[in-house]
Symmetry: C2
Subunit: 477 residues, 2 copies
């Protein structure tokens, strides 16, 4: 596909997103409705995300394991809210090995139930606690309206599942992992987020309460970028996950679960991208640097390529792509790698060879403003510095955008205006009926009740009842 | 479970295996028949296997991607042999989102078909070739007789799928990946293997021909440890995977696929394990070193723990586990870590504190023979040396065992004896009926026709027809 088919973001944000995902070869539509193929460029981005998260999980004491894809249907029915939440979305295996199964199996929509079953078997005593396990896998939820990365029938994620001796430890774990997600989002993906508690109607099916990190996309809509759930003793009671405490009394465990999915790739696209295409955060980009050689004839080519070899050796610590495709102009290559969001581009032509220089272009500032001529000596230091600068600049830009488009209003008419093109941070009574009415009237939902509150109190933006907390309302993905 | 429940290998190899997998906490039975849960200790081993393979795949130019779990049933029917091979093993989703699906979806048993469909869409010209993609995922094949790691309804693996312009390139790729597997098996897992071609009846359903690496387990039975398939143009014709060559002619691609699964964990257990439990190869072991403190009172404890802290700092480059569990004797810990196969154990007690020493025990030589007292100075070098030595020693031991139990025989009566407790390497006509008769009469199947042949010719061990190649026959897992 030619790049000029990409519409501008202001023209049609949704179409800009869909075409960009396809044209940059992050993902493609699968032949099964609602499913996606994650292409190598997109999967490498996801691998970098998983590596950054996995090291944080391990640093906080977690280990990985694997649980089956297929779950007996009856397992889902043991926790009332859980079954109500997930039943409409299930893919169900009814035939196995040529025979109709006695009990149908569901393709996991999430693994609380089967993991709960195993924990009940493994956990005997307080000495076995806490159990801190994470799983990298894919899950299936039958979706009617799908969108690549944001909402697909099968998606990739990690799901952490922990069991603790006390409700206090479970709550601490839930908040610890929320912090891990926020740290990852801001420091690896350069995506600013608000940490907060979900409302009753937005919480996970079966949770005591849920927390999320919420990010503002380039069209000001909100995206729930990761969630962390305190499951209380709901699943422990449903699956009999119990332990003998130090006084030899049988106690229920307190469990948590938390997840971040390939949805986050959608956040990276929509937070940072511009009309030229993707802008990938240097810490996660599949290629941090692309080198484009410029020459007119074979003599120039061999001079340029010789210096590129030396440059590649010097840049051994970075993820570097040399674009040595033949029969394609440098201009085409510039556009191509801009579309694909490579943070830094190195151009080198005959004049650079002569002067011992290269042109260094930063993706987040297209055109001349983002281009500088630097010496080939100490190029590694210049590239390291520039990558850091891009990482910080795109974070600051996104933060500014989020701040500028978040408004505190006290009047419902103002609220209705604000949520058309931004977030409203307003006093709210936290009542479910009140939330439903707001959604009906404005299409905005409560995204979260930020953990960071100024204190004080006010009256609910909708019903006028007393309210102790501000919540963020926005239209959401 | 107590360790003394583990039977000896000579007593009951199958039961030794089953109990060892459970007691060492590598895996557990899942509530769905034939499925397994891979516990953290087993999954960490698998993660180390994946890392060693993945770096080899990337070094040979491959990239990772992800394809959907659910495949339209009609896709499997496009390649005749493929559908015949896999139909009896399918798990089929017939209900999605509460409704009966128009076309049932199969849970992937392998991904040639859906990947073929996507390749047909992506590949246009010779410039797009070769396509070298690998996938890490799980697949489902309905199995009647299952065994943890060796044969489970769902198993974890990687599947490589490549497309090439010529049959020659496809064959080169197929053999390249066979070499990658053999290199991994021997140099990372210390598992000696024979590289060879599969017979017509043992090849992959839909392949032109298949290659495998075969390993000898501790009971002399063979295990197919990885396979690499040249698919010819079978899948290209079924899915219309075509490219325009340099002369603008439309040509079919030539494809390959290759895989290694969690089955390989079973090979590691059965090749190296002894009556005390697992012996894990140092390069892949979740923990390479376990430290067991020895003390009688609090004063001793604090002295010992202080030196252990210094030792841990010194051993920062290794995967080290400190077993500081309370209320458990050192002897119990020794047995526990022997069962779990940690290659090197460090014991440190009050006398060691005094003398600045530790006791260093190697798992592959239990008892006094494998124990030495070494200085705490340069402990890191001593540990590195010992880990290398364990890695080499267990490979040599396994190689010797395989060689000693592989016999060249020319008489069918001798053959029948040999395959009761070893491998037979014999002249064979390669005829399918001949193979079926041998299997019927001896329970041995052709494992592979080794690539490494001495030359010459002889007469088939069974039918007496002229034979140009020797094949390995054995009872197999």
């Amino acid at each position: 596909m030619a790049k000029d088919q990409l519409p501008s973001r202001s023209e049609n944000f949704a179409e800009w997103y869909n075409r960009l995902v396809l044209q940059s070869e992050l993902a493609d539509y699968a032949p099964v409705r609602g499913c996606m193929v994650v292409r190598p460029y997109g999967w490498t981005l996801w691998e970098n995300i998983t590596a950054a998260l996995d090291s944080r999980f391990k640093a906080t004491g977690h280990v990985n394991a694997a649980f089956p894809l297929l779950i007996p249907k009856s397992f889902l029915e043991r926790e009332r809210e859980h079954v109500e939440g997930f039943s409409p979305e299930l893919a169900i295996v009814t035939i196995g090995g040529g025979e109709v199964l006695e009990e149908p199996l569901v393709v996991r929509p999430t693994s609380e139930t089967i993991i709960g079953h195993m924990y009940a078997k493994w956990i005997k005593s307080y000495r076995d606690l806490p159990v801190l396990i994470n799983v990298w896998n894919s899950v299936v939820r039958w979706e009617l309206r799908t969108k690549l990365f944001l909402r697909t029938t099968e998606f990739y994620w990690q799901e952490g599942h922990t069991a603790h001796a006390t409700p206090k430890e479970a709550e601490e774990e839930t908040l610890r992992m929320l912090d891990v997600y926020a740290d990852f989002a801001e420091n690896e993906a350069a995506v600013p987020v608000i940490k907060g508690k979900k409302s009753e109607s937005e919480k996970f099916a079966g949770a005591l309460h849920s927390y999320s990190i919420e990010a503002m996309m380039g069209d000001t809509r909100a995206l729930q970028a990761a969630t962390s759930h305190n499951l209380g003793d709901n699943f422990s009671r449903a699956f009999e996950i119990r332990y003998l405490d130090q006084d030899n009394n049988l106690q229920y465990c307190w469990t948590t679960s938390w997840g971040l999915s390939t949805r986050f790739v959608g956040a990276i696209i929509m937070v940072h991208g511009d009309d030229q295409g993707l802008i990938l955060p240097p810490r996660l980009a599949p290629y941090q640097v692309v080198i484009v050689p410029i020459f007119k004839d074979e003599a120039q080519r061999s001079q340029v390529m010789e210096q590129i070899e030396a440059i590649q050796r010097q840049l051994g610590d970075f993820r570097v792509k040399l674009d040595d495709r033949e029969g394609i102009t440098p201009g085409f290559k510039f556009n191509d790698w801009e579309l694909r969001g490579v943070p830094v581009r190195i151009e080198i032509g005959p004049k650079d060879v002569e002067k011992g220089t290269v042109a260094l272009a930063r993706r987040d500032r297209p055109g001349k403003a983002g281009k500088q001529i630097v010496s080939q000596e100490n190029l590694a230091a210049a590239v390291a510095h520039l990558l850091d600068d891009v990482q910080n600049s795109i974070f600051e830009r996104a933060k500014k955008f989020m701040d500028e488009n978040t408004h505190r209003v006290d009047d419902y008419e103002d609220f209705k205006e604000v949520v058309k093109s931004g977030w409203a941070e307003v006093w709210w009574c936290c009542d479910a009926d009140c939330e439903a009415a707001i959604k009906e009237e404005t299409k905005a939902t409560s995204r979260c009740i930020p953990l960071d509150q100024d204190g004080g109190s006010g009256v609910c933006i909708h019903c006028g009842e007393k309210a102790d907390q501000r919540a963020i309302f926005a239209r959401a993905y």
